[in-house]
Symmetry: C2
């Protein structure tokens, strides 16, 4: 591995001159510049980023924690974040907490150890106090951690209301919603309670079906779907996150229900799977790209020590499909 000193030696200049050329800083005579560039070429020299990182005390890497990369919502979010952060010259390092409980500790630790410049926290931590003494850039995505850490999320209250209104308009009388909520600090709580309230205000009571929390595999959702229809065969509307609604649609088919006549479905999130199913599923669509852009912007501002808003709420909308 050629170092900057080797280049300097070959070019017959000082290491600092090489550095200036590399970083396009200060003034370097054309003669020296040429000699340096030639030497770099000849030695096939590549600067060592680790030394730079040490000097600058930063890596231009942002850590991202999500429950599960393979989940369509988080997958899309991460993809969008990668692109958004790239514009600010940051790379991403992804950690999933599902199946790896201590991922959260680890990434906070990496922040402390200077391995990453900031964290985008998109999972539902149970150990909020983990973040108490970390006075470094952290942005919370769709989750309240503490009152110091800024948060970005969709307008879930409106999302829940939109869904409720669509159910009402479609003439739904016995709606059921499937929740997977640990506690009210999770913002999913917001749309589910808005959904319930809005319907209730119109004289319709929503059945709450509670799932296990932080479960994302299709087989589990299928079991939930079976259970939902066994316990509540009379329902004529289902509201829940994309994947579980997909599973319920499949179950409705097995039960030979006519969709949307017999039963209506609205999915929350509106990831590609609501469009890839047999039916186009009516969905409340979270604007993933905008969320990612805002999140990227915020973590970068935080790193630069700029002023930021404590809360960014992004508008949400409904996309009508065949199921409601």
């Amino acid at each position: 591995m050629a170092s900057i000193r080797d280049v300097a030696k070959l070019a017959q200049v000082a290491p600092s001159t090489v550095s200036l050329v590399l970083n396009n800083k200060g003034y370097v005579s054309e003669v020296s510049r040429k000699k340096v560039l030639d030497a770099i070429e000849k030695l096939n020299y590549v600067p060592n980023e680790l030394a730079r990182n040490l000097y600058r005390n930063s890596t231009n890497i942002i850590g991202i924690i999500v429950p599960d990369v393979a989940h369509p919502f988080f997958g899309a979010f991460i993809g969008a974040l990668e692109i958004a952060l790239y514009k600010y010259n940051y790379k991403i390092m992804v950690c999933s907490t599902i199946e790896r409980e201590n991922a959260e500790h680890e990434i906070v630790d990496m922040l402390r150890r200077q391995m990453i410049d900031g964290i985008i926290m998109g999972c539902h931590s149970l150990e909020v106090d983990l973040y108490d003494n970390v006075n470094k850039p952290i942005v919370a995505f769709d989750r309240i951690i503490n009152n110091k850490i800024p948060i970005i999320r969709s307008d879930h209250e409106k999302g829940g209301r939109l869904a409720a209104q669509a159910m009402l308009k479609a003439g739904c009388k016995y709606p059921l919603q499937i929740t997977g909520i640990k506690n009210s600090s999770m913002s999913a709580y917001l749309h589910h309670s808005a959904f319930k309230d809005e319907l209730s205000r119109n004289g319709i009571e929503v059945i709450n079906y509670e799932m296990e929390w932080n479960k994302f595999d299709m087989n589990y959702f299928k079991r939930v779907a079976v259970d939902v229809f066994e316990k509540y065969p009379h329902i004529d509307g289902v509201y829940g996150a994309d994947m579980v609604v997909c599973a319920c649609l499949g179950e409705a088919r097995k039960r030979k229900l006519d969709i949307p006549k017999d039963i209506k479905f609205i999915a929350y999130d509106g990831t590609f799977i609501t469009e890839s199913s047999f039916y186009n599923i009516t969905a409340i669509v979270q604007p993933i790209n905008i969320l990612a852009q805002k999140t990227a912007q915020m973590i970068v501002s935080l790193i630069k020590n700029e002023n930021i808003e404590k809360e960014v709420i992004v508008p949400i909308s409904i996309r009508y499909g065949d199921t409601c």
Copy 2:
């Protein structure tokens, strides 16, 4: 930021002693150890990983390139890789090439600059010569780069054959396969040609429908589905990757075809979306966890300079659903 020197000063020992304590190396008297630990506690000291990285000339980060993190296959692969690599104490850094053409250059560059210790290359590069002079750990996932870089993939030939046999058994006479292949170095080529050959051997000709390459969005697949049925309304079997098969199923529904009586479907990959659709889609299932484990194992061996196999081929199987 407290440094190792501050700790040493407070503990009244030398920095090297602190280092020994931190790394649990060599012998340190209980008295010194205690003093050091106290000082660390008091100063809230956290070692700076960047300095370590510089010294060791490694970061324990593996770069992963895929076309699209949000794609269900790659999402699952990345999730599995994260877990597999975690066991070897590596973190991952993800890059998608879709929408970011130069991601590939960048990540190779990071390898050169010592920012990452190795690369798992899971996208279909068009610039194979990019890798010619990189004499560092690279593993190719499902893709031939050059004869120096080891490859891991499923047994696609068998996958194609299994699909063909299932189609035959189901009595399919006019199968169509949807490909998205750039050139024969892509291993998708293998299963598609095996599929065609196997059916041909049984007197059945497969129609080839060629999609654009490296396109992964659902809307595109839906357009493809419409086009497929418009051009070839008489087909009674569709074979292709998960997402496009999902789209075709949706189109078949619109055309009121009876599934699987009128038309059969087999999806290649078998990601969760084949199980989340209205139907359980019959699929050739790539063993993502095993692929990820083998890939992780291989890149780690490569980093450690151990001997490795040049090619690892993992068995594949068919999962019967409702569509064939």
